[in-house]
């Protein structure tokens, strides 16, 4: 064995993740008196999917609206698979958690002295609930970043956490690789919070950044935690088809363009009549994504493998709102399609794209997982959204549960002692991770394996699924795991800032997470929410109104169980 060295940090609470959930958890844990470390893959203090968010935050702002109505909408959208305890908490605290953000130094976007600037009504919401901010999420992320520094959270940037350290079903810390130095380090902690976000990078086209490789799901799975609803991947219908840099990045939904908007395929047919004759273009995001995906896959797309949005019949007030409330999307719109399309005077091409993940680590109302000392929050945690998420509720979930996770981890840490990590075990793990350092040219680089995973996931576990496709994906993924992982090499052996070292760890996470999605999707022999099985196109409440829960068994295999829905209370 090579001589392996690593340094060590100690905290009461360590948080893994670089977005809003991680930051809010860190601030709350610190306020509760804990010494807090935060490990993020990025060099920004707060980034993740949060900094890319454009869609705003949903809360019960409107007169007449209230937690019960909001809860009902969340659960209806979620195909009633939601953990009702969690959904209730989100619905009850949506407004107060949102307004609390001002106490971290984030000033909200106001219209005048006492009203928020834009509250938009999105699909599936019984009342207008969507707060939109002219900075999109930049103002929020930078304010939270400064709050982290003010409160002396030890933020360690540009690190990839490679393993969760667990001893006797108790989380004891993490093992991480610094991209900057190329060195490994162990963090011992009384409590660990996973806030690693979603898994967009598992898909060929996604609105997410390439850093969201499903790390938290894979680590939680490996440590024996329960994961639920892993088949529930959300897609969004309208995204840029080109150029390559912008491919899959988000435009949004037809509703952004107002009531005159129409969708056409490459043959000039207004195809939504086939998928949702009543609501047409104003259908839910899952049906619209499925329709766009199907038209393109069955050869009715344009020559660029896209479908066409015609926004020409529009209300100028809605165009103005588009320009001011999603300025970033508008700027990109102009960049990609030119001025006439930017003014909605010409049709433009779009593709569907992966957007969000509803499933994840099972948590209770305090963000506790089934592993002692391990907490999860944000997109990596499952349950709030069930089988599908309403617009604007991703950030609401983060604002409500971020501080809950931080407080409950700090409370847990108070009564605990640090459990020193198992040094020989860590050395073995590092050695295993490092055994990939081979000569360039003799094997396959991490990005090549990533491309293979992303391709099979998009084609077989995208908006439209069936048994044959899912089995093909499982075969492809198993094959990569058995035959390619052991010939994965770093293109260069440099230690410092060598992206391949980080990406090699990500490939492992991607395969594990992809297989969890695939097996869960194969098990659910019905269609519900975002999970659409061509071979089982209808929902079947008598058999499937329940959650699919995955856990790793003692022999390393997968236990698949179905469990009753968590009721309110």
């Amino acid at each position: 064995m090579r001589r392996v060295r690593f340094t060590k940090y100690s905290f009461d609470v360590v948080i893994v993740g670089g977005g809003g959930a991680a930051a809010l958890a860190a601030i709350a844990a610190r306020q509760a008196g804990a010494a807090v470390g935060l490990l993020t893959k990025e060099s920004s203090l707060v980034g993740g999917a949060t900094i890319m968010a454009a869609g705003g935050t949903s809360a019960t702002f409107s007169p007449g609206d209230g937690p019960e109505v909001f809860f009902n909408d969340i659960v209806k959208a979620g195909g009633r698979l939601n953990n009702q305890t969690l959904a209730t908490i989100v619905a009850e605290r949506s407004v107060s958690a949102f307004l609390d953000l001002e106490s971290y130094g984030y000033l909200l976007d106001r219209k005048d002295f006492n009203t928020l600037r834009t509250i938009k009504q999105g699909e599936g919401h019984a009342f207008p609930r969507g707060y939109l901010d002219r900075r999109e999420a930049l103002g929020l992320c930078h304010a939270l970043g400064k709050a982290l520094m003010r409160r002396e959270v030890a933020v360690i940037p540009e690190v990839t956490v490679a393993r969760l350290l667990v001893k006797d079903n108790r989380a004891t810390g993490v093992l991480a690789l610094s991209l900057v130095t190329g060195e490994y380090f162990a963090v011992e902690a009384k409590a660990v919070i996973l806030a690693t976000g979603g898994l967009g990078a598992l898909y060929e086209v996604t609105t997410n950044s390439s850093l969201l490789t499903g790390d938290g799901f894979a680590m939680a799975w490996d440590s024996g935690a329960e994961l639920a609803d892993m088949e529930m991947v959300q897609f969004i219908p309208l995204n840029f088809p080109y150029p390559e840099t912008r491919r899959g990045k988000m435009i949004g939904m037809c509703s952004h363009f107002g009531s005159g908007v129409k969708l056409y395929n490459g043959l000039g047919e207004r195809y939504m009549a086939k998928y949702d004759p009543e609501r047409m273009e104003f259908t839910t995001r899952d049906i619209a994504s499925r329709a766009n995906f199907t038209e393109i896959r069955e050869g009715r797309g344009t020559k660029n493998q896209a479908v066409v949005v015609d926004p020409r019949e529009h209300d100028p007030a809605i165009l103005l709102r588009f320009k001011t409330s999603v300025p970033h999307i508008y700027a990109m719109f102009r960049e990609v399609y030119g001025d006439r399309v930017a003014e909605w005077q010409e049709p433009f091409e779009v593709i569907p794209s992966q957007h969000f993940f509803m499933g994840g680590i099972r948590i209770d109302k305090d963000c506790k997982t089934s592993i002692s000392g391990l907490f999860a929050v944000g997109e990596v945690a499952g349950g709030v959204h069930g089988a599908n998420r309403l617009s604007g509720v991703a950030l609401t979930e983060v604002f409500v549960f971020g501080p809950i996770a931080g407080r409950s981890a700090a409370r847990f840490a108070e009564g605990e002692k640090l459990i020193p990590p198992d040094t020989p075990e860590i050395k073995r793990t590092i050695d295993k991770l490092e055994s990939n350092v081979m000569k360039a040219g003799t094997g396959v680089r991490p990005f090549e394996l990533k491309q293979a995973i992303r391709k099979t996931m998009w084609h077989n576990l995208g908006p439209v699924r069936d048994e044959k496709g899912i089995r093909t994906a499982i075969e492809t993924l198993d094959n990569i795991r058995m035959n390619d992982l052991n010939r994965m090499v770093f293109g260069a052996s440099d230690r410092k800032y060598n992206r391949d070292r980080m990406e090699a760890i990500e490939v492992d996470f991607m395969i594990e997470t992809a297989l969890l999605i695939a097996h869960s999707a194969l098990t659910r022999q019905e269609s519900r929410g975002s999970h659409y099985r061509q071979d089982f196109p209808f929902s079947d409440d008598s058999k499937w109104l329940k959650n699919i829960v995955l856990t790793k068994n003692r022999s390393g295999g997968m236990d698949i169980r179905s469990m009753g829905i968590v009721q309110e209370g």
Partner: protein, 222 residues
């Protein structure tokens, strides 16, 4: 089209000196600098260190110099001939990667007021529309550090001057009713004296609005 790319390579820990490596490759005119960096990393130089995160002009992490002008790599389209350097004036980690964290911590060190907790306040405070609009504009910053890197005064006296980013942060704080206005005024006073009003920061800023000029105007009005 065929593009020629001179890439700066340097590891400050290596003891050797910086150099340029030249790559010639095919690219579409719609590709960005970031696309080219990814292509070179995958196909030609796996040891190349470069940074990016969101890929859609939000996080500010991919800022580099292209032919002597700073830009966000994920926004800037390619040119037939490109010389790509790291942002100058910031500590270098390796190749195109600067130490952003050190640069932020530096501003915090010079502005201890940033480190103070905002005063407890009503969660929802009334704000007049003009202040709100200005605050919203000032907080559209990408925190890409291009302004800091381009500022000649900051290059001359990095130990004393908070730089354009520090001035922007002060301006943001001055509009936030949760902060103590008099102290911010004092901090801003000395920084404003050092600034030479050359306007380079606002010329290089990738934001669509001239937020750095607006920050100066906000502080001068105070």
């Amino acid at each position: 089209m065929r593009v020629k790319c001179d890439l700066y390579r340097f590891d400050p820990d290596s003891g050797s000196i910086g150099r340029y490596e030249t790559y010639v490759l095919d690219a579409a005119s719609t590709e960005t600098i970031l696309d080219i960096l990814i292509k070179i990393h995958r196909g030609f130089q796996p040891a190349l260190s470069f940074r990016f995160a969101c890929g859609v002009v939000k996080c500010g992490e991919c800022a580099v110099m292209v032919n002597g002008a700073p830009c966000l790599a994920c926004e800037k389209l390619i040119e037939p001939e490109m010389k790509i350097d790291p942002l100058p004036g910031l500590p270098l980690i390796k190749d195109l990667v600067t130490d952003r964290r050190k640069a932020f911590e530096h501003v915090f060190k010079l502005l201890p007021r940033l480190s103070r907790l905002v005063q407890p306040r009503e969660r929802w405070q009334s704000l007049d529309p003009e202040t709100t609009n200005r605050y919203i504009q000032l907080t559209k910053c990408f925190e890409c550090l291009i302004c800091q890197s381009a500022c000649p005064v900051f290059a001359d006296m990095p130990e004393k001057f908070v730089g354009p980013l520090g001035l922007l942060w002060l301006a943001q704080m001055s509009l936030d009713p949760g902060n103590e206005a008099a102290g911010i005024k004092r901090d801003a006073g000395s920084a404003l004296e050092m600034c030479e009003r050359c306007g380079i920061c606002s010329a290089v800023c990738p934001c669509s609005e001239d937020i750095l000029r607006l920050a100066m105007a906000t502080l001068e009005k105070e």
